[in-house]
């Protein structure tokens, strides 16, 4: 499972690391908000926030202050306990799941090895799927606790959507799990490092100019997974939980101020998890194109000559690589939101159950078949 280490030093570092990763996740949110607003403005030929600070960067700070100082009220007819608990629960699963994603190669310091992630879990994929499936509670709690019919209907829509797409989401990555034979995210990344190479019918097939990423083996799984994560995080084109005309703002209609902000963080957290998992499953995680970490380390060592600093530089380079992939997927999230129209609710359900689920099933079966045939028979 997970171990916090044996010595005091190790435990302390691991705890600090945990806090840092959490803070990183939370602090990314305002930046992403700014990015999304600027980006959407760019797409729509507007300026976006540009008054407060250089390029409007301080707008985030102003927003935060605004949120914090707003009046904190709760609807009279609602259930106060659930109403207040919901935003907290929105934040927790997202943070817990995000922290399990590895972000760079482990850093060696003396006899210690520190993983660049919150904590490592043996069955990380199952864990993340499980934790993120808890998001439905938040929505239901918020929706029901608000005591408003718009909130309740929005919550029912959103949670039904999340449960439905959970299936497609889970099934779409079965192929990749079969391929790498592990639930462990680090092992999965490890398997994708280096050049494109695989064994089939007893022969090795490789291409040195391609990385050994999952997308080349599971393109259908990749598309299904990415589409399902859009639905899981209630983003456009699947943001059916909201609707100015019929549902106002969905399950968080009654929320304002800081509680609203926490829902925001939860939503962005889901996007971050989705982007991180996309990178991890299909794009080699933190690995740099078709180089293995050993090769990168060797290069750093030749450059610097100090083992620790070379290792640190290695980790940093890989972390940057991860950030680039992470950022690209986040940008795709934004871009899709501002370019695609939304679905109707029945279309959404049809897509999930009648299109994505069969395709995910077929992908699973065909993958299993191919893995069996190519590994069992020798030509």
């Amino acid at each position: 499972m997970t171990s916090m280490g044996t010595t005091t030093f190790e435990v302390a570092v691991n705890l600090i690391k945990l806090v840092l990763v959490f803070l990183m996740m939370v602090q990314l949110v305002p930046i992403l908000v700014w990015l999304e607003r600027r980006g959407s403005a760019f797409i729509q030929n507007r300026f976006g926030p540009n008054r407060v600070g250089p390029l409007g960067l301080l707008q985030l700070l102003a927003d935060a202050v605004k949120f914090l100082t707003k009046e904190d009220f709760a609807p009279e007819k609602g259930n106060r306990l659930l109403f207040y608990a919901a935003p907290v629960f929105a934040l927790v699963p997202a943070a817990v799941a995000y922290m399990a994603i590895p972000m760079s190669v482990p850093l060696k310091f003396n006899e210690y090895t520190f993983l660049i992630q919150g904590y490592e879990i043996n069955v990380g994929i199952v864990f993340i799927l499980g934790i993120s499936s808890l998001a439905a509670y938040t929505i239901l709690m918020a929706g029901w606790g608000s005591g408003s019919k718009f909130s309740l209907m929005g919550a029912l829509r959103a949670s039904a959507q999340i449960i439905s797409y959970e299936l497609a989401l889970g099934l779409s990555i079965v192929g990749i799990i079969l391929l790498y034979g592990t639930f462990n995210l680090s092992e999965m990344i490890h398997a994708q490092q280096g050049i494109f190479s695989f064994n089939a019918f007893g022969h090795n097939i490789s291409a040195s100019w391609l990385p050994n990423w999952g997308i080349f083996y599971q393109p259908v799984g990749m598309i299904l997974f990415f589409a399902a994560t859009f639905a899981e995080s209630n983003r456009l084109p699947f943001d059916l939980a909201e609707g100015e005309a019929e549902l106002v703002a969905g399950f968080h209609t009654e929320y304002g101020g800081f509680k609203m902000l926490m829902f925001f963080i939860g939503e962005y957290g889901h996007m971050m998890i989705a982007s991180g998992l996309m990178a991890t499953f299909f794009f080699g995680g933190y690995s740099i194109w078709n180089l293995t970490p050993q090769e990168v380390y060797q290069w750093c060592f030749n450059l610097i000559g100090n083992e620790f600093w070379a290792g640190a530089m290695n980790s940093l380079l890989h972390f940057l690589s991860y950030l680039v992939k992470f950022g690209i997927f986040l940008w795709i999230f934004f871009h899709v939101r501002w370019t695609l129209p939304r679905f109707r609710y029945d279309q959404l359900m049809d897509l999930g159950w009648k299109t994505m689920l069969p395709w995910a099933l077929a992908n699973t079966m065909i993958t299993a078949l191919i893995i069996f045939v190519t590994s069992y028979y020798v030509l």
Binding site: M1, N79, L82, N122, V123, V126, F127, L129, G130, I131, S133, L134, A136, Y137, L140, M141, G143, W144, L152, A155, L156, S159, A160, I163, E166, G170, G181, F183, D346
Partner: protein, 181 residues
């Protein structure tokens, strides 16, 4: 007291308290939420018993799907406080509570007596565990599931299909949800 022991007592406490919450809360929504809490605690207990995969499945299936269903239904019904949360009748009530009490007493007694007198003592059990080795590799689980018990697995699949059809038949509205006219 090591971390493992502390973890067990903590989880046991959580499980029992949230389990009691299911039964004792008058508002069914709180019951359902405590049941979800119980499920998560049970998943954590699975983890302490090194059944990682099943812990994940427990969370995904129970906490993530089944309990969400419960919560959804409850919220749809919009049941607030119950006036008659518990059954009435002194005699039967007494018998019921007595039954539960005696049963739990009997089982607990049987377990402690059976394990310390009739069977091996704890040291032997512990050594036997080491000898047997850890069973939870997900691979081992899948091999047992898909090779040895594949018939049961298939039967479960059929069961689920039947259930799906039955549920849809039970809860459909007249003319279907997509009726155009």
């Amino acid at each position: 007291m090591t971390a493992d022991v502390f973890l067990f007592w903590f989880l046991a406490f959580m499980t029992i308290v949230s389990g009691l919450g299911v039964v004792l809360m008058a508002n069914p929504i709180y019951s359902a939420l405590s049941l979800a809490m119980t499920m998560i605690s049970v998943a954590a207990i699975f983890v302490t018993l090194q059944a990682y995969f099943l812990a994940g499945v427990q969370i995904i299936v129970y906490a993530g799907a089944v309990m969400v269903l419960f919560v959804m239904v409850l919220m749809l019904f919009d049941l607030k406080h119950e006036l008659q949360a518990f059954t009435r009748g002194r005699a039967t009530g007494a018998i019921k509570i007595a039954t539960v009490g005696i049963l739990s007493g009997l089982v607990v007694g049987a377990v402690t007596i059976g394990l310390t007198i009739g069977g091996k003592n704890q040291a032997e059990v512990a050594s036997a565990t080491k000898a047997a080795g850890i069973v939870d590799t997900t691979r081992g689980l899948s091999e047992a599931l898909f090779l040895k018990n594949v018939f049961g697995f298939e039967a479960l699949g059929v069961l689920l299909l039947v259930i799906a059809v039955g549920t849809v038949a039970l809860s459909r509205s007249k003319g279907g949800t997509h009726a155009r006219d």
